[in-house]
């Protein structure tokens, strides 16, 4: 069990972080806390993707002199995918904050139960 824990610890961390964000998104009452939960959720996915690309003994994916051998460098593809996912996370958070501003201006609160009470 121990080596199972040691050899794959990056997946444990990613699953823990993701469940943390997932709980915050669904469990929390305040809309802003849901948004923070969403950011944790997405950050956990970045951690998962980047941890795929790591190679033992591989360095930064920038070419030094000499012949390029695949084992020398870290796998660059997850880094590219996560650049896109980070930009997507920033954009979604930006739009969600703009929407929260509209909600706050209309209901004067971000607590979900107060908002639902005023809409009923």
């Amino acid at each position: 069990m121990l080596d199972y824990l040691v050899s794959k610890y990056n997946y444990w961390i990613y699953i823990f972080l993701m469940m943390l964000g997932f709980y915050a998104m669904m469990g929390k009452r305040n809309l802003m806390k849901k948004l923070i939960g969403m950011s944790i959720f997405q950050t956990a996915i970045f951690l998962f993707f980047i941890s795929i690309g790591v190679k033992k003994g591989g360095t930064l994916p920038i070419m030094m002199e000499g012949a390029a051998r695949a084992a020398d460098y870290v796998n660059p593809l997850p880094h590219v995918l996560m650049l896109t996912a980070i930009v997507v996370m920033v954009s979604t958070t930006g739009v969600a904050l703009a929407v929260l501003l509209l909600i706050y201006r209309r209901y004067k609160t971000l607590e979900e139960n107060e908002i639902l009470r005023s809409t009923r």
Binding site: L60, I62, L83, V87, G94, L97, A98, L101
Partner: protein
């Protein structure tokens, strides 16, 4: 809205810092080939320098330097550069975004591709910078300036 208080320390330090931040941002954009960096990171740093300007000197001062109208045009310009380079590659034979066909006067195809990548980075840098500032200005000036129905 950003609470505007006259604090000389912040103003002087930011007046000194902003030019260096911007030069570093241009370095990051331009040296995407050789060092970690590229369009997005450079664009965000460039945007951050303008946001520092707005925070230190207040929105009115920055209004003179960069108005929201120019920002949207700048954002569209950056993206039109990016897709324009792809279109040029399309028109000169080759598929979309195939930089090998760009009509640059360079000797070998890899060098043309490197210049194509550089053009992409510049387009993305401009676009991301303009968008970062417009999001910041939209959100901060929501209470007073752009009150909408």
């Amino acid at each position: 809205m950003i609470v505007q208080y006259e604090n000389v320390i912040i103003k002087t330090i930011s007046r000194i810092l902003i030019p260096f931040i911007q030069i570093y941002a241009l370095y990051v954009i331009m040296h995407g080939h050789y060092s970690p960096g590229g369009g997005f990171q450079g664009g965000v740093i460039l945007g951050a320098s303008f946001i520092l300007l707005v925070m230190a000197f207040g929105a009115e001062a920055s209004q003179k330097r960069i108005s929201l109208k120019k920002l949207t045009v700048l954002a569209s310009l950056g993206l039109l550069i990016y897709s324009g380079i792809g279109l040029v590659a399309l028109l000169w034979g080759g598929n979309y975004l195939d930089y090998g066909n760009l009509p640059l006067p360079l000797a070998t195809v890899p060098e043309i591709r490197a210049m194509g990548i550089l053009g992409i980075e510049i387009g993305v840098g401009i676009g991301v910078m303009a968008i970062m500032i417009s999001i910041f200005l939209a959100i901060t000036s929501f209470e007073t300036g752009g009150e909408n129905a």
